[in-house]
Assembly symmetry: C2
Homo-oligomer: 471 residues x 2
């Protein structure tokens, strides 16, 4: 088949003319431009896959820096690393944007024990204290557990059923949802708001079933938010297998007492930074396109998929464009946001400063769903902007990136929305994401080099297309 085509072309007086002839069905200008775009995107992929730096950058961030919760020494180390990397890559300008961040510390490892009685032995549960939760101190807290499957059940119990007790939220992530983020969205209010709601009813502690569809012994931490005026209580995530076990024991009807010991504390707010690297636009330098991920992570594991991958992909996008000698029309920025996990102070600060300085942010893209194989992009903007980005989908078809449409973007860039910025979320295949999200297992080894690089390539390609096609 190939040979037939080749032979035909060799005999033809106008080599490759058939391709151009087919193309003239469309307007000539569009066609030529699209061919140029197709070629450039191919170069982007080649660079990312053959001469990529994202994997090595991720190794540095996860292995040399490690985890990096806001306010920690690790976070400062990550800031220094990000600044140095972008300086060494010779981006036009690299700077730190000061942000005041919350400073919560886990302290000594937590303990959760289901206390035995009669023939039942005491059992240690796998648990992690939630960000912003209170410490019990060395004496701990012991109380009977009351389980609820949802907020309605808690409301029915009321103060008399909850006061003095430890509330156990046993709401599982729904495995039948194809988009794991949707299942996370359904279940996460129990972690984010459950402890505060329980505290208001007099609970002395809260246990939350870990946010994952996996059944295993790995607890998943994350942030919890105590409403203004509510005194924080100790609150922990327990592994799904422990949640199943505890649920079974409670269903037997016997009172189950649990001992909780946590050493976490909230310190005064700390000084930290967003790290920003920029390549100045050649035509419209006053208009900015931002690409980013968040630099902070939870204080277990290495913050590899969450969100080391987004950080290195953002740096890599600018590096690739520079390596290919591309002169961006607009100013393009890689932004490593601080404090996505427990405050969003970096994202808010970035949008505030943009508004204060009168910067024109025309588009922003975030990668904060893990460094897995890219499947598409979601757009949070006007219908027209969504349609314009959907119209780029054919350019990604051969790279197996197929999902384009309206949807969320990323927490850090969302505060730009009132400024009319087109917000774009990078969408990888997240089937494995919630197995390791916010756990000790979110390590470099869980990131696949090719998947990470394909993500960087897809993001770089879209960044290029935005720069080329947006006014």
């Amino acid at each position: 088949m190939k040979h037939k085509v080749l032979n035909f072309l060799r005999k033809s007086p106008f080599l490759f003319a058939p391709v151009l002839l087919i193309a003239t069905a469309l307007t000539p200008g569009t066609t030529l431009a699209q061919t140029e775009e197709e070629q450039f995107i191919r170069q982007v992929y080649d660079t990312a896959l053959v001469h990529g730096k994202s994997y090595e950058l991720l190794r540095q961030l996860t292995k040399n820096v490690g985890h990096r919760l806001s306010g920690s020494a690790g976070a400062q180390k990550a800031v220094d690393w990000g600044q140095q990397v972008m300086q060494e890559l010779r981006f036009d300008t690299v700077w730190l944007q000061e942000v005041t961040v919350p400073h919560w510390e886990r302290g000594k490892a937590e303990k959760v024990t289901l206390l035995g009685s009669g023939k039942d032995k005491s059992l240690k549960l796998q648990a992690l204290a939630l960000g912003s939760s209170a410490g019990t101190g060395p004496k701990g807290v012991t109380a009977p557990v009351v389980m609820v499957n949802n907020f309605d059940e808690l409301e029915q119990l009321g103060r008399q059923g909850v006061e003095g007790k430890i509330v156990f939220y046993n709401f599982p992530m729904n495995p039948s949802l194809i988009k794991t983020g949707q299942a996370y969205g359904e279940a996460s209010p129990y972690r984010t708001h459950g402890p505060s709601i329980a505290a208001k009813l007099g609970a002395v502690g809260a246990l939350v079933r870990s946010l994952t569809t996996a059944l295993d012994h790995v607890p998943h931490t994350g942030t919890t938010i105590f409403e203004a005026g509510v005194k924080p209580i100790p609150a922990l995530a327990i592994s799904t297998l422990d949640a199943e076990m505890l649920s079974k024991k409670l269903k037997s009807g016997k009172t189950q007492n649990v001992y909780i010991e946590t050493h976490s504390r909230t310190l005064p707010d700390a000084r930290s930074y967003n790290v920003i690297g920029e390549i100045r636009g050649s035509e419209q330098a006053d208009k900015i396109i931002t690409i980013g991920g968040h630099l902070d992570s939870w204080d277990v594991g290495e913050g590899a998929h969450d969100d080391g991958t987004g950080v290195v992909q953002s740096i890599e996008a600018l590096r690739i464009l520079k390596a290919l000698g591309y002169q961006p029309r607009h100013t393009i920025r890689a932004v490593l946001f601080m404090n996505e996990e427990n405050g969003l102070r970096g994202g808010r600060k970035y949008a505030e400063e943009a508004a204060r300085k009168g910067e024109k942010h025309i588009a922003a893209m975030e990668s904060d769903n893990g460094g897995f194989t890219p499947i598409g992009f979601t757009v949070d903007a006007t219908q027209e902007a969504v349609a314009a980005i959907e119209a780029l989908a054919p350019l990604f078809k051969k790279y197996q990136v197929n999902e384009f449409g309206a949807g969320g973007s990323g927490a850090d860039i969302s505060p730009l929305k009132p400024q009319g910025t087109i917000l774009i979320g990078y969408r990888p295949d997240t089937q494995r994401y919630f197995d390791i999200h916010h756990t000790a297992e979110d390590t470099f080894e869980k990131v696949n080099k090719r998947e990470l690089e394909l993500g960087a390539a897809a993001m770089t390609s879209l960044l290029y297309l935005l720069d080329k096609n947006l006014e």
Copy 2:
């Protein structure tokens, strides 16, 4: 266009029900039918993701049986397991189809040493003997290495450059290709045919760079084929990092001597079996739709992604349809093929028996690309049949299964092609596949439960649609 397809299908020996499959959205009946199909597919996914058995079946096959090269005790154990599982699931008929298979044994672990000279120390290379390669016996073989980057270079060297030497094929898999299978297809002839071609020129051994884009210490085995009349020589795959190291040393110009010791041997052909489970059709029992994977594996690791996942997904597909009370119109079969890896005897036997008995195999689907997130299906059939399957794509859109089109199917079902069977290949995201393919690392732990289950659901859904819509 539509009419052409319809006309063809009416003439086809295996008719599609054109109203349902192709001419959608015009009549109310069609709409209802499609709604019914949508609802059924949703139930398939719910069953696979919430009450799935594929992961537990894979655990049994990988952990209780383990690896299972044709002719080995493991292969027999796998046959017994497959038969028992399908009997316990109460498929209408379960039987063994006898197949005579090649019986190659690795024997004691192989050794490959780059011999030191002068200041250079001897270095052990990570290597695995290739299937069908000859053993050196305990005395081993020592010879200088000659490296070639491709077959052209070997031809240029000719007999005088090769005789008495060990040929080292250093052709890397191309990382810039998005479809990893394409890169594998380019590089695999060096493993499959390279040793035989070298032997014809008088080489005393062959080393082949492992077929992976990963740079690591893991050797990847696989089959090699000696042409009739060519005496097999020792042949091994070495890890990519060792290939890089050896290449560097050879480029320095100094003679590099390598010691090879392998204990492999080819025994007389052995008796083995395809394992077949069937649910009898309610309307057209004489027409068969087959779904399958291969039961044999390489003799390292656990044959998890290759092809334990295909095996359990095939069983799971029939189980799910049965669990949902679906009465197939045609006879549907799960076939666990023996000997895909080093002979394809099972696939050939299955097609031979089908032809001999006059069975009408209208469609066959194979999963042999790993148990990763499904991205689509490729179809090896007439243009019209390809178009008919592509027309089903909208039903898979919400499950993020987007890639439908012409392409390969699976080695085991390919011998059915002359019988006019529509051949379908299950396509998962294979970015990680060649990191572990044919290695000691292809274990149960490398398979993600959700990804495996999503694959089973996609395959079951397509099996259902084929049964519902094919005549």
